[in-house]
Symmetry: C2
Subunit: 296 residues, 2 copies
């Protein structure tokens, strides 16, 4: 199967899985639930949950086991998008070509919808833990829960630093810190969750963490590049958005050409690491190229 077809299959699977968690009851907080659904089902790329599944599949086939963690991480990702888009933070009106949550609903609803998604991710994890009777499986999942909560903590810290330094000149050290926490921590978590749940050995875990670091950086740089030269009809975000806000990005720090060089280098490194896992890692190689070549 070619990469694009496989990607689409995974995406469909994630969509179906997420759909199960959408609440449709006629309750007084119905609109809050609609607001969570609006963002969760807005058709993102689903890269994070897919990373969990495909890393697991390097080692074992029954990847349904990690579905709750794939769902949970997509909830976290969407919580962070809703809060980042708020007027007090990034003040964005458009995301995935649609109105951002607070524009579609209102600020109060968006704040609480973000809170709800963040918290829901832990409901999902707690349900899965309650349903796990095997001691060995439970041990792995408790480790995953701990890494999960710590990665979310890093993401929030990264978002804070990103906001705090908007419009200010920052050192490459700070740029790296922001990126490492805001974006990379969660991508790294996805890969580690898949590997830990599959019972990967420590040395494999280290290699995969390294892979995640490379694609994490590549992902961020590509995002920064798209913000400058992307097609907003395709990206679904206004071009020049980062620059207008005085965001310090890889492009503003190193220029477009140098940024593209680093992107190429990171992709090459990631593919090399993936090759160490043989035929089973074809998708991980494809994913690295996809991150580099995507136009949204």
């Amino acid at each position: 199967m070619d990469f694009k077809t496989e990607l689409k299959q995974y995406q469909n699977q994630i969509e179906q899985e997420l759909e199960k968690y959408v609440r449709k009851e006629a309750c007084p907080e119905r609109i809050l639930n609609e607001s969570m659904e609006y963002s969760l089902m807005a058709g993102g790329k689903r890269l994070r949950p897919i990373l969990v599944l495909v890393t697991y599949k390097l080692f074992k086939d029954n990847y349904e086991v990690c579905m709750p963690y794939a769902v949970a991480i997509e909830m976290i990702h969407n919580f962070s998008l809703i809060h980042d888009d708020l007027p007090a933070i990034d003040n964005d009106d458009i995301r995935h070509g649609k109105l951002t949550n607070h524009k579609k609903f209102n600020e109060a609803t968006a704040i609480l919808a973000g809170d709800g998604l963040l918290n829901n991710s832990y409901i999902v994890i707690s349900e899965d833990l309650l349903n796990t009777s095997n001691k060995y499986e439970l041990e792995k999942k408790l480790k995953v829960f701990n890494e999960f909560s710590n990665a979310v903590d890093r993401m929030i810290a990264g978002e804070y630093v990103d906001t705090e330094f908007e419009g200010k000149e920052i050192s490459s050290e700070y740029l790296e810190y922001t990126h490492k926490n805001k974006t990379a921590a969660l991508l790294k978590l996805c890969v580690r969750m898949g590997a830990i749940l599959a019972g990967a050995e420590e040395k494999e875990l280290i290699k995969l963490t390294d892979y995640a670091d490379k694609i994490g950086l590549a992902f961020q740089i590509k995002d920064d590049i798209l913000s400058v030269e992307g097609n907003e009809l395709i990206t679904g975000k206004p071009v020049g958005n980062d620059e207008a806000k005085g965001k310090c990005t890889y492009v503003s720090k190193y220029g477009l050409e140098k940024s593209k060089e680093i992107l190429e280098e990171m992709t090459k490194d990631a593919i090399e690491i993936a090759e160490g896992f043989g035929n089973k890692a074809e998708f991980l190689k494809g994913l690295a190229n996809y991150i580099k070549d995507r136009n949204k």
Copy 2:
């Protein structure tokens, strides 16, 4: 020991415990950490964590076991205060006689500090789960983690409904729904956490849940009464605040006199339930009276 002395002792213990979770490192997100500390250590009454401890003590003495859950619930409580106070939600400037988080720092920081505290509560729980090797203890804690995440979900829903219906006439059914979710769910959780962790039997759990319902309602009504006739130098909140915002409260719905009657009744009921637990429940009885008679 009289109730007030014992209460003070518990409060001091909680303060000391919370202090251990305050982050002081010189990191780029230092001010975010300060903002979390500012709210967490602002000197609330610590009723929620104390409820966890004293319920546990009805059955067992080594109540240090539930300290992580006491800390986690106080983090949740403070996350909810920070977000509720935001301009887009309740728009409050003063809390505990001090500037609210977004007034002291700024809105972006307050949003992220709330997110951070919400998420930190799960870091605390995940650490405790990782450190629990006894299978029977772990089972109880997993049940607690599940109830915890669901109660937080209810709290967020309650806050949403409260915000949504601000300035509108609502039915007593809706008033009850809001209260049940926004305030009572968390108080009930505290009592249940203590009892479950101590290995209480189902019939005791039911009685204690009932106790929590009574003091939960008493707590809310007293809050509504204080918002009308409290001394703002003592409450630390402006008098007439609820009314000015068109909040639907027990006082606006039933009037001051009827509200006080319900308060008396709920307190009496709670004390009766506590009496069923004998001498060990003296503090729970004192707590019911304290909630009724407090002036802040």
